[in-house]
Symmetry: C2
Subunit: 270 residues, 2 copies
């Protein structure tokens, strides 16, 4: 089993909680790390968010999220870059392991052009992140999000996009929900050695209740999270393991119930 | 633009029509080829189905579908193989270009084992299909179907699975809905050269209305069907181009309206 000390609550799992509530929840359930979402950081305020996690002694495994680079409008692309600069600043203040980049997509931009816009955005952002000491984690999302959310869809593609950069500056975030299906997932994980900045677990429910809000708690679906975690470990990753579950039914459940289940399933299945 | 003579109506597009109605619809709209589904063949009867397409002078581009190999039960796997033998017989009677294999999946079978069961099923089926002169077309389905419908999810994986067989016996069916997102889709299509048995077009709607019944008519979504068709042509494929659209709203539309739109969009966008 995975070391329980590696468990991190990705705040998306307790969407109805503020940062204060999520931090207190982690403390109650013995969870040592947390991943914060920027809309929650903005609600609470950056300095107050930093104070809350620091006072609770929590480690910040990541900030979600930067990215969202593609747009048909050059002005909008520029705004998005500026927003990514601010995300880097927030990652500094919160001492996060990395800034997660969900690279974005636009139905007004052909796939190939959108992928180029992501490369361009990354090229603009990376020098600033390097200067600030913030690692950028490219997260490949499931191919079903390629049209409207994320044009980065496989580990190999993320590694290719990271390859111009130092392995301490740009890496990949591996999320079992997004990668579990790939015929060569274990080879891809092996190729990611030295570039893995984060690892997320959840489950794929059958039938999938919803494309966006249909993830399950580990054990409620078909993903073999443990075998994937072992592969990620073998590829040299020993950092936090975030539980990230987008699911309306989970969000509607009291947070303490969710956290108790998350801890239990982490122990038995991750 | 693609030669209109290559257009084939995959019967899934007009789900509420019988084979007789679909055949008559093709004739009315100048469509020269049709792909028949087995549940429709069984409704009408095999010999009557063959008579209908023959009398109308239609070419049968494929039979949908064989496959569905994985199961936790050996007895069920055996039944499925038997059903595949019958599907081969039907393809013979209908003089179909190929039998489409949607290989299946089972939530009770781990992904890796399910993929092995597909290889085993194919190994049992292929000699019989060869003897009957029926080509088996492996269709990779979108990764979002990996849990419960099809554990074959990329062109490369299908080519790997086809590789032990003669290129005239086992090949691949390329469907833009399933393959459009892949970062290396054009390289994969190139690698499929000599093994392409069929090509399907439709569109990916945003937002996706439904995982299973959410496909759109070409032009209503984000897929660049023409560029993909040109790539498939360059890879040496010159056969039928099936329009296959699973969509409840399309099914609820009068078939003649759907066919008129399909022909129009085929001309302008494929």
């Amino acid at each position: 089993m995975a070391d329980l000390q590696r468990l991190s609550l990705n705040q998306a799992t307790t969407q109805n909680w503020s940062i204060k509530e999520a931090v207190e929840g982690c403390v109650r359930h013995g969870i040592l790390s947390i991943s914060l979402w920027r809309h929650k950081i903005h609600e609470t305020g950056l300095r107050e968010s930093a104070r809350l996690v620091r006072d609770a002694g929590l480690h910040v495994s990541s900030i979600c999220r930067g990215g969202m680079f593609p747009s048909a409008s050059a002005a909008v692309r520029q705004e998005k870059i500026q927003d990514n600069f601010r995300a880097v600043d927030e990652a500094v203040e919160l001492k996060a392991d990395s800034l997660v980049l969900v690279v974005g997509a636009s139905i007004d931009v052909p796939l190939r052009d959108a992928r180029r816009m992501v490369e361009d955005g990354l090229a603009t952002l990376a020098p600033y992140a390097r200067k600030c000491g913030v690692r950028l984690g490219l997260e490949p999302l499931h191919p079903m999000y390629a049209a409207d959310r994320c044009v980065l869809n496989t580990i190999d593609q993320a590694l290719e996009m990271a390859s111009p950069y130092n392995s301490e500056e740009v890496g990949v975030i591996l999320d079992t929900f997004h990668i579990w299906w790939a015929p060569d997932v274990f080879q891809q994980i092996e190729r990611a050695k030295g570039r893995i900045y984060g690892f997320h677990v959840s489950d794929w429910l059958v039938p999938l209740p919803d494309i966006l809000l249909g993830r399950g708690v580990m054990g409620d679906g078909v993903i073999d999270n443990r075998t994937l975690r072992e592969a990620v470990d073998r590829a040299g990753y020993s950092g936090a393991i975030e539980v990230e579950i987008f699911n309306q039914a989970i969000w509607d459940t009291p947070g303490d119930e969710v956290l108790a289940k998350v801890v239990d399933r982490f122990i038995t299945l991750v």
